[in-house]
Symmetry: C2
Subunit: 610 residues, 2 copies
């Protein structure tokens, strides 16, 4: 061993001891004849004191930032104590030293506030990983996985590895594929998730399975998506929805406790998908704050069969924009009635950005004196404005923001605006954690382009028990596209659940189909022929012939969960070696070209366009 | 929940309780008006008693093997107790039952001694996984990983995930590659091991890293090799060989304790590679038994510069086969002097099989009366036979077996023969575990075909500290191929270590190179140009410029370790979803062809021969 102690270990109680330390030179400070060096390793920083006697040696072998140094010396009490670090009461009087390795000057500073830009830090990731900020993230990541493993172990789950070289069955997302040399012309696929394998393990009787496992999706990368990502993947047999919810609520609460020291004793709210969409415009609402959406005008929609218009204050024709709009929604932003013209103009610009895509923003200032001031003063009188404010439950001092337009876009825009206003008001605190279960999703979504159903979750999700007969009894074909909402499948609810943390979906799952006929019906409903479903999923349909138990599970997005627990919006800082938005590892310079010999052995050749 | 208890949980103390169980029907036994059913789940088997009152229902809904059944009933004491199972004192008097899922008749019996052949069981792996024998293997596998994680956690290791989509740098084994859609014409590779990443993590100061991780090698599969396999991968900073040995000897001992209940308190023997080759003909000797090889005639070889011939009893010309042979080696097999002609003939046939490749086998029976009987009686007199027996340390009653021929093949054949004889004598017991460290491997192997050096371990292994100067100072080019043994590189020893369990290498590692110049010299020694080493490993050479610490590590073959601990020779039974010897998953039918659209998106096309 190159050391007797780590750089985070020594205390005043060690004073007088002879020790050997090894680590990196954080700083070198010369004061006249003596030199102070901060020596750093994973465990901490220890101050070294090089006396006058070492000066000549230091001249021959000068120390620089990030040099790897080994020293022998005696622990002694510091005169000038540093209360901010655990080793701050001592320093080491260096007797001998040896430079184990030199370092060139790093391309950016190894400090919390580094001067390195994103690209530079990605290229020299091995140096970026030295920074405390990044190190803390990876430590948190390990703590989360450790906590999850302990909880799952204590609850009888087995960690069982599933294969990485599997079969390509593209459904939705694209597979990454791997040409097989030994089976020329054939390809493996990398798993998008171990979904079918964990279901097979239930069929095999393993009862409780988990895995913290890499998954792969070849999608066009949006910001903060990675082609390879990690899931905490779980499955249980002989369970119903409530069993899963209780078990995995427990998992997240345990992680809060182990990793953040938070006793999350509140029961976790459960909300239907309908209510989430209705009140928050979003299936993963942030419920750390209220500011619910008021639906002033809404078309008859699959998820709420309610006639909003007849008793809405915006019902009678008055303001053409609202009159012509499919949807009018509002939020009452607390305490913002005194926004200036400049501020409301800026908000209007904000909703008109292409990412939000609204044509404009209407507002009503609910002044503290009880009066109203609105961008719609020309169209609505005070009584009408008051009626709207009352419908919105606005209090004096609130600013009501209204959006109108096409249903889907408007709802989405209002959801974004709600989050933005909460952010501006400081209502989205990183250290405030609020969980939510969203339940009762639709089983199918309508695919306009192909006039057919697609699975909202995945093709293995079971309908609610009460909807199974509806699914079996009806023909999935949509004969009249304009009336797809009237098709019985439009109302089938999934036995599925998402868990949401601070407005982010951190996990989702479902009770699975375990009956062969129902699974076949599902494949048919998604437009798969018998041949196709047999080719792709014959093994699963086969397994369902031999006594498949009722089962269900969940998968957590591990990278995202860690990022939120670490108070960050970006998952990249919680991955040791992430890829950039083009799917490149700029440190490795991968992907890259390969040898012709490799291509030939794999029986493939390049087929470049142009 | 579909159950109140599992099928392994109920005891006599539960008598009288109303319970709900769910599981699989193991057996149905009808005795007159009553029916006994054994209900099975992961946790055990519970006997169910269906009384006369349920007969009419059982007629309408008959139970079959592997049906999924839910029952409600009362726990009661059995009259006919089964002491062999933990639930054997009770049975459940069934009140109501419900068939949750039916099962077709399985293609083989779900029993320890199944009637299913290998191919059938691979195709229906989800049924094979139900068998106790396989289930116990996967439980053992999980116990090993759990034990390893606990030990490594307690010793300050972090589990840090490294990427799966990396850069192709084929060295030795072939990479599996993954075409990149977003970077047309370029490929990722799947990692053969996280070697360079764990070294970068050491450069980044993470100090102690581990991962239980999938690795990939596209090699022609020998029996019991898998294209994807799992490693326990570890790395430490500021360590020397002894630190690694102590830490990971501790890991294996902990696994013995946790998984097998074995207190392995013996200190683990350490043996040089030279001694292993000399005494066992093998770099991973099984030392559960002695039967060392006696070297009667041996050429001057790089690994032992000793003149065997001059004082060997086979030195003087007498027996042409020995006189002409490069190598003559012998073992004394205890207690086999009374082997019949038939038995020695059979052994001769055994060594003549193509896998062994010897031309014949000589023997000397050391009779208990002190006389000798040999297949070489025509050539050697009694005194000579006695001299050979004495050199071999043979005792009366032993059978000396001798092989002669080309050095490498003969040594290897004798190693195989030694293991075979031990197996026949019952000296290789599954429940007897003996660890061994093999040390001081040569750093380089000679590649005859290209007249150059190849890395025996991998290009990141450091030479012994005392050999670093030899490596730096000398030109790696071999000017005279016939004298390669005289090249200074032939004698350089690696700072590497293998850990051997019962004759199987279960892990191996090395102290790494951490000096940029030495790493460059290594790449040059392996025939890599500066451009090539920069293209392939520029990131590592770059990292070594910024303060790389001394470091080293080890990787364990997790599948193999589990198999040996489970007393099996085959890793396949310790993998949930293994591939066959052609790299196929016959259950999934993967690899398989993919759509033209997928190929087009990936900018590749097939290039089939003929």
């Amino acid at each position: 061993m190159f050391r007797s102690h780590t750089c985070g270990e020594l205390r005043i109680t060690h004073a007088g001891e002879a020790v050997t330390l090894a680590g990196w030179v954080q700083t070198v400070r010369k004061f006249g004849a003596i030199t102070f060096v901060d020596l750093r390793d994973r465990y901490g920083i220890t101050q070294l004191l090089f006396g006058e006697d070492l000066n000549s040696q230091l001249e021959i072998q000068p120390l620089g930032r990030e040099f790897v140094l080994q020293i022998k010396g005696k622990v002694s009490e510091r005169s000038n104590k540093n209360k901010n670090i655990p080793t701050g009461e001592i320093e080491i009087k260096v007797e001998t030293f040896s430079i184990l390795n030199k370092s060139a000057v790093p391309p950016f500073t190894i400090q919390d506030d580094t001067d390195g830009g994103d690209d530079l830090r990605m290229k020299y990731r091995y140096l970026d990983l030295r920074r405390n900020a990044v190190k803390r993230n990876l430590e948190l990541r390990y703590a989360v996985s450790r906590s999850a493993r302990n909880y799952l172990h204590e609850n009888g789950f087995y960690d069982i590895e599933t294969p990485f070289l599997i079969k390509s069955t593209p459904e939705g997302a694209r597979d990454f594929v791997v040409p097989s040399r030994m089976n020329a012309g054939e390809f493996y696929a990398l798993p998008q998730s171990p979904q079918t394998f964990k279901q097979l393990l239930m069929v095999s009787g393993y009862d409780r399975y988990y895995q913290i496992v890499k998954c792969f999706r070849d999608e066009d990368l949006r910001a903060d998506r990675q082609p390879e990502f990690t899931q905490i993947d779980c499955e249980m047999s002989f369970v119903e929805q409530d069993d899963i919810i209780n078990m995995f609520e427990g998992l997240i609460k345990r992680i809060f406790k182990d990793v953040k020291g938070i006793d999350y004793t509140d029961s976790v709210e459960r909300m239907t998908w309908e209510d989430a969409m209705w009140n928050y415009g979003n299936d993963k609402p942030d419920i750390r704050f209220d500011m619910k959406i008021t639906n002033l005008k809404f078309p008859l929609h699959v998820f709420r069969k309610e006639d909003i218009l007849s008793n809405s204050p915006v019902a009678a024709p008055a303001f053409q924009v609202f009159d012509n709009a499919e949807t009018v929604v509002a939020i009452a932003v607390p305490g913002c009635s005194e926004y200036s013209r400049k501020q409301t103009d800026e908000l209007t610009e904000w909703v008109k950005r292409p990412q939000i895509g609204m044509k404009g923003l209407a507002f009503i200032k609910c002044n503290v004196d009880g009066s109203f001031k609105s961008s719609m003063d020309k169209f609505y009188d005070a009584a009408k404005l008051k009626a709207i404010a009352e419908t919105c439950n606005a209090k004096p001092g609130d600013l009501i923001l209204l959006l109108a337009g096409n249903e889907e876009r408007t709802r989405k825009a209002m959801s974004e605006l709600r989050l933005e206003m909460a952010k501006r008001l400081g209502l989205r605190k990183n250290d405030d954690f609020k969980l939510l279960w969203v339940l009762d999703f639709p089983l199918f979504e309508y695919d306009e382009e192909n006039n057919r159903w697609v699975a909202r979750h995945h093709p293995f999700t079971s309908p609610k028990p009460s909807d199974i007969d509806v699914m079996i009894a009806n023909d999935p074909v949509i004969h009249d596209a304009s009336k797809y909402l009237e098709h019985p499948y439009a109302n089938i609810k999934a036995n599925a659940y998402d868990i949401v943390l601070n407005g982010n979906e951190i996990g989702g799952g479902s009770i699975r189909i375990y009956q062969k006929e129902l699974q076949e019906k599902m494949f048919a409903a998604l437009g798969m022929s018998k041949e196709e479903s047999q080719h792709k999923f014959g093994f699963l349909l086969g397994a369902f012939e031999y006594g498949a138990p009722p089962h269900g599970g969940i998968a957590f997005g591990f990278d995202r969960l860690c990022a939120i627990l670490g108070g960050s919006e970006s998952i990249r800082d919680f991955i040791a070696f992430p890829k950039n938005n083009s799917g490149r590892d700029v440190m490795l310079d991968a992907p890259s070209s390969i040898d012709d010999k490799q291509l030939e052995e794999l029986s493939i050749k390049l087929d470049m366009k142009k």
